[in-house]
């Protein structure tokens, strides 16, 4: 009688049959076998162990969504949009255009998750708004008017988004923050809770005020910021882009920077992890002074991911120089 070498599982010592790639008892991978393909990232079970929904039939852990990130680097302006670590699709979008050394049009949108086709809404709105802003730069139009037209174009684009009516879903809609910089002045317009910040040496400001339940309560003195942040309605927004949006002209601010700095536009996927301008400023200050916009956008995105990445994260950064 020949005795075969006894194989046993390295993890639980249960006997393994020759050719077992994978312990019947504990599910651990047999050590002499290399993974055949991408299997379970948590316990090493082979790809066959993953069920149709991506759950591992051994350890139960679901496959992480493949990293889903869009980056655009236009040297003086850059943007990153990342799916995050929890959501299974990216419903954020950005659109960015550079028309010379000191002219940039940038738009960031966040598709509303309780609505149908939030991702298409955000993409359509951002693209349409950027298109209108780029035309405005060429025509040298008034910045406030241009922002108003861009938001109108975004509304019209979202109304054209195809969607399937569902009882538990609202019509397609998204937030929007848009900035137009040329000839030394920046106009910023917004609907919803996507934000714009001005980050310069000794001057860090949030340029937008969220169109949100929380901000309205705080503005009316009904709640402190601390109280509002604990309310489940904290994230409810009061204005947005979409066919069912309440009628109200978007809010627009115009700034004329007196020193070089950075304009940062982002969705709540970032600012949830750095809610105050000071916290955001600290993150930017930690980077080298000459860090390019793309490096800043990437770094802020990574910070949000490291802190949980609970939502989609989109960050656009513009290097604003002065004459």
């Amino acid at each position: 009688m020949t005795s075969e070498p006894q194989l046993s599982c390295a993890a639980c010592a249960a006997p393994l049959a020759a050719g077992d790639r994978f312990c019947e008892q504990c599910g651990a991978r047999s050590s002499d076998e290399e993974p055949a393909g991408p299997g379970c990232q948590a316990c090493g079970a082979p790809a066959e162990a993953l069920d149709d929904e991506g759950y591992c039939t051994i350890c139960g852990v679901r496959e992480r969504p493949a990293s889903n990130r869009v980056e655009l680097d236009l040297v003086i302006a850059a943007a990153v949009s990342d799916q995050g670590r929890v959501h299974r699709r990216n419903e954020d979008a950005f659109a960015l255009g550079v028309a010379g050394e000191r002219s940039v049009a940038v738009v960031v949108c966040d598709g509303i998750s309780s609505a149908s086709a939030g991702d298409s809404a955000a993409q359509s709105a951002a693209a349409a708004a950027r298109e209108t802003l780029a035309t405005a730069i060429d025509a040298g139009r008034d910045r406030r008017d241009a922002i108003g037209d861009a938001i109108q174009a975004a509304h019209e684009a979202v109304e054209r988004v195809e969607w399937t009516a569902r009882a538990d879903r609202d019509m397609p809609s998204c937030t929007l923050v848009a900035a137009l910089w040329y000839e030394g002045e920046i106009a910023i317009g917004w609907l919803g809770d996507s934000r714009a910040y001005w980050v310069a040496a000794g001057d860090i400001r949030q340029l937008t005020t969220d169109d949100s339940w929380a901000e309205e309560q705080i503005a009316e003195g009904l709640l402190t910021r601390e109280q509002a942040s604990r309310d489940p309605r904290f994230h409810s927004i009061t204005h947005w882009v979409g066919a069912d949006a309440p009628e109200r002209p978007p809010r627009v601010v115009v700034i004329r920077p007196d020193r070089p700095g950075r304009l940062v536009l982002c969705t709540d996927g970032l600012w949830n992890y750095a809610p105050s301008p000071g916290e955001l400023g600290t993150l930017v200050d930690a980077l080298p002074e000459q860090a390019a916009p793309a490096a800043v956008a990437r770094s802020l995105t990574e910070t949000a991911l490291a802190r949980g990445g609970r939502d989609n994260i989109t960050v656009a950064v513009v290097d604003v120089g002065v004459e």
């Binding site: 019947e24 591992c56 350890c59 139960g60 852990v61 949980g308």
Partner: protein, 435 residues
């Protein structure tokens, strides 16, 4: 046949390092009234083969008062009339031994007008006299039913009025072990001389209900209801099959509606990661289960399937529910307690404090009894469990239901105390809007 539905109510978000996952699963059989919607039509299709046994206590005490044995004879006749044509049936009279009343030889008879009349004639001659040995009655029932539990619905009704005096508790336990899985048994205690915990043990082991019939006059309607429910069974034995991932452990599995029944100890291993809990046969109905599973904690953003609950009849999967966990650093998400989980945690505590309170009262510990029953009043009031509240009010004076301030009543009828004990496990569901 359409399949079962299983709806899951849970907060799947866990904090970093969190391990305990709680979920309520509402299981509804075809034709059963779903949680939110109106009752659908009765399940279609041919009912499965069935066998029915009625076990009547004919011990000497059934003659005191005189009407009890008469009411039992009448109730049994009513029950026999409700047995569907073609169902195998039999009647057993129980004293310190069990006697086959109908048929008077081994095996069962198929129900027809002829056999039903013959059975009723046999029942009409029943007289009281002798002791009580429930185990011996169940043993005879098991022999009459044979070993066809897998391919037909086997059900028994057991009526008694006294304690199991003619045999030891160990003997009864041993018999219950041999009967488990062979048939289901609904138990009824008539009057106030029987032991609630004893009958609860029988019913629980044999996947049946237990209740008190305080007034013998109510026996007939109760028997009719039990037989009609048994005749309405549309499935053979159904089990909950629970898969959990490597590294996870099942803390408990309990039925929480319509009554509380801990199933944890009934787990039978299927393979290394799968166990089955028997739930008996199902008619058109809906039951809720509370599952508590300890998962191996993961990183923020990880999602895990911590339980796959399947309803199986033999190896046929009738329905399925998934229980999940997602680890998050968002406290707003992880600290939220699911409404259904909170509700049924309260209902389980309610059953516990009633049983503890009554025990303390019996032992003469009035301080503990007052605290426990006070808490019960508070829980019953909060959850709108009016049935239990009414039973509590027969035992305590309620000063303030909101704070659970009560006084023990001086004079309490035995049947009231036993009704509260017996029905302490009856739960209510959360109101509309709970989904």
């Amino acid at each position: 046949m359409s399949s079962f539905t299983a709806e899951v109510y849970q907060n799947e978000y866990l904090p970093l390092g969190g391990a305990e996952v709680n979920a309520i699963v509402t299981v509804t059989s075809p034709g059963g009234a779903a949680r939110a919607g109106p009752a659908a039509g009765a399940g279609a299709g041919r009912p499965p083969d069935a066998a029915e046994i009625i076990i009547i206590d004919t011990s000497g005490s059934m003659d005191v008062p005189k009407g009890k044995i008469k009411a039992a004879r009448e109730a049994t006749s009513v029950a026999i009339d409700c047995i569907r044509d073609g169902v195998a049936f039999g009647v057993i009279a129980g004293t310190d031994v069990a006697r086959m009343v109908y048929p008077d030889h081994g095996g069962l008879q198929l129900a027809s007008d002829v056999t039903r009349n013959a059975a009723k004639a046999a029942v009409a001659g029943l007289q009281a006299g002798g002791g009580t040995a429930i185990g011996s009655w169940l043993t005879v029932a098991r022999h009459m039913l044979g070993t066809r539990a897998q391919d037909r619905v086997c059900h028994a009704i057991l009526l008694t009025d006294g304690e199991n005096q003619s045999e030891s508790a160990e003997e009864l336990d041993r018999v219950l072990d041999t009967c488990e899985g062979h048939f289901q048994c609904d138990c009824r205690g008539v009057g106030s001389d029987w032991e609630v915990s004893e009958l609860r043990r029988v019913a629980s082991k044999l996947l049946g209900t237990v209740d008190i019939i305080a007034d013998p006059a109510d026996m007939a309607s109760d028997f009719r209801a039990m037989i009609e429910t048994a005749m309405g069974k549309a499935t053979r034995s159904v089990s909950l099959r629970l898969w959990t991932p490597q590294g996870a452990t099942v803390a408990f599995v309990r039925q929480v509606a319509p009554t509380i029944e801990d199933l944890t100890e009934r787990a039978a291993a299927v393979d290394a990661r799968t166990v089955e809990y028997p739930t008996g046969t199902w008619g058109s109905e809906s039951r809720d289960y509370h599952l508590c599973i300890d998962a191996a904690p993961r990183e923020v953003g990880d999602e895990m399937l911590v339980g796959r609950l399947s309803l199986v009849e033999g190896n046929k999967v009738l329905g399925q529910a998934l229980i999940k966990a997602i680890w998050t650093d968002d406290q707003q998400l992880s600290t939220r307690i699911n409404r259904e989980v909170a509700h049924y945690t309260g209902q389980a505590e309610l059953a516990d404090v009633i049983q503890d309170g009554l025990e303390a009262r019996k032992a003469g510990d009035e301080a503990t009894a007052t605290v426990k029953l006070g808490r019960a009043v508070q829980l019953a009031s909060e959850s709108g469990n009016d049935g239990t509240m009414k039973l509590l009010q027969a035992v305590v004076e309620v000063d303030d239901p909101a704070t659970g301030t009560v006084r023990l009543k001086r004079e309490v009828a035995d049947v009231d105390e036993m009704a509260l004990d017996t029905r302490s496990t009856k739960t209510v569901r959360t109101g509309p809007g709970g989904a």
